[in-house]
Amino acid sequence: MIFPRDATRRTDHKAASETFYDVVVVGSGISGAIIAEQLSQAGKRVLVLEAAADEDRSLKGYEGFLSRFYAAASKDNQSPYPHNPNAPMPRSTDARRIWPGQPDSSAYLVQNGPFSSDTTYTRVLGGTTMHWEAKTPRMLPQDFHLRTMFGLGQDWPLTYDDLSPYYVQAERELGVSADVEHQSYLGATFDPGYVFPMHELPLSYLDKVVAKGVDGTFVELDGEQFELSVRAFPQARNGVPNAAYDNGKGYVPVGAVNTHQVEEGERCQGNNNCVPLCPVQAKYHAGKTLAKALQDGRVDLLTRTVASKVLVDPATGRVDGIEVKVYQDPESPQHTTMIMRGQIFVLAANAIENPRLMLASGLSGSSGLMGRNLMDHAYLLSWALLPEMAGTFRGTNCTGGIVDLRAGSFRRQQAAFAVDIHNDGWGWATGAPYSDLVDLVDQQNLFGAELRRALPDRISRQLLLALMIDVLPNESNRVTVDPAYTDQLGNMRPVISYTVPEYTMRGVAYARQFARQVFQRLGAADHTAYDPTDGAYLTYEGEGYVIRGGNHLAGTHMMGTNSRNSVVDAQQRSWDHPNLYLVGGGSMPTIGTSNVTLTMAALCYRSAERIIAQLQDELSARLQTPAPTELPMPTVVAAS
């Protein structure tokens, strides 16, 4: 995939500020990229504003990320990405224990507590999909009606069937590998004859070892019997294309993105490094969609451009510009302030940055829900040592899991969950395999041949289950801003207040039992230990747990049926500002047990249709009632 060279310099800031675009998009992540690509296809002029400092998405730049990762002593999930004080981002290693009344402001996210989350996102060109894991399950039909069914959470203003055709579009764009027969469970349906673009990825040997013990087991919950099995996850990474796709037309996988022709990668090679960075770009990232969006020259892209304020005309409620701070040097606070204009505005900066920007612009909305209902999956890790060599640390980060408890009537009492079998061992929980090596050498005093025998014995038998537990919307879980906390450019930083809801904790307690049962089945030695000094340590009914952030941020500009119960409508259009769309996870009223991105991509395809229609409507309206003064004039550039 060719990324047009110098695309970020195709226009300069001054020219852009003097142009009236059809659509101005904030953020070049998957949400922004899909909107830009769809609008460009419809012949619209689009400006994409990106806070990050990247130049083009070139292979060289990509390899720079890779070297940075190789050379990093701490290989956490942000390690490939350079620190940028002008567009800072959270890092999982930032999380600290929070004491009541003392927010932790030492890192970018100001954590007000009481729970300290280690959730992250990435502010680079292409956004967080540069480092996501790329699991792409659809939501289940039940997830859209939790309020009606169980009196919990919020109903969506949409159904599974409404979203289904857009899921198909999203699955094409992301290049999803999965088999319909294994994804039709718990009510999920597909159009007759539908196949995914690529066949499902083979389960890992580790998955198969787990499956031997788990497949065919029954568990009972709320009087319902559930049969368990290990199943492949749908994944946005290149596998074997399905010849039957698209009525037999097949599917051509999208390879690496670069400014000139150097093919590489394409098929997933099992680098076991999907998070934080796939070295061969077999994993989808938004750079692929962005490259497409930039092909025909209708999309302008400006990097080093931080949206700092949404400007609203108080008379009409319409947005008439976005104020941006343009910097050259990421290390220096020097910047220029400008205003970008267009007919329609789209905020696609993610579920934390969207409400942060709105609130920093003084736009808390008529519902008062802006920034509220922050959701993120709660991950409970449970780890054990299998009785046999399972060859852990091979394959993609995760190929299979147990998803049979994603829906059911038990949800009236406790959260549903999905289970990942991690191919990267205890890494997430203990820092394996490094921590194992250090222990074996420094504590167990092993050397030479003894050490060589001990290494696989300790590492290749590792099994880590990551239990991803549903979190429901809760108004007091929220993103706010506070002028006391700003970044280098003077933009207010997000302040997070968060409690893991009791409903989720009930699910956590059950999930822990569930993991124990799996280990018992497998004869695996449970090594799980939750550290009470960990910032994310919680007790529930006398037992302690550590809850990891899921990086599946959602809910903060929830969609709904009216302006009192939601921030946006079912097309992600703001109730208060008719030419403003807030897109991404923030629009989701619930997240169920599905990794959020495929759903947000589907929502963006849907919104793109609506935006195109609105542009058309507004154009014909203007043609009918000529009002010359309404035509915007280029604005004078303000410098600070």
């Binding site: 596998g239 070295p279 060599m389 640390f393 041949a449």
Partner: protein, 165 residues
Amino acid sequence: MTGPRQLDGSRRLEDFLAFSAEATAFTVFELRGTGQSQAYLNTCDGIVGTEVTDCLLDRYDAARSAVVASESTLPELLRRDILSDPQLGPVARNIAKMWFVGVWYELPRAWTEAFGAREGNATFVVSTQSYTEGLLWPAIGANPPGAKAPGFGSWAHPPRIPVFP
């Protein structure tokens, strides 16, 4: 103590490799195959100083010669003369870890208190290649995450972990 090693760089490297082979149970050929030999020796020298490295290599040399006439095995002698030595033990363990994951681990505080702080003694990855050339990965039949990919679907097969008698 500046021994004759200083004069002969290649001999010194060979001894370092021979000792490393003992420490890791990888052959000298495999160690050289990583392309990291010189970088690791330099790292060790750079942090603890050539004198300490030389001392370790001398002890190793002595143990190797002594083993012929001794009732003990080489590993036993190494435990006695190097691994339990307050100064050389931590360095030897660091050399082993460096081969496995390409990381120089900060020496323990007890060491710096007894033998003096050393400049650059922090935990760091020796180089981008040292990460990808870590021998832990072949030892467990895997690849360093993010490099040396094993190929599509390889993960579905049983691991090929070298058996160690």
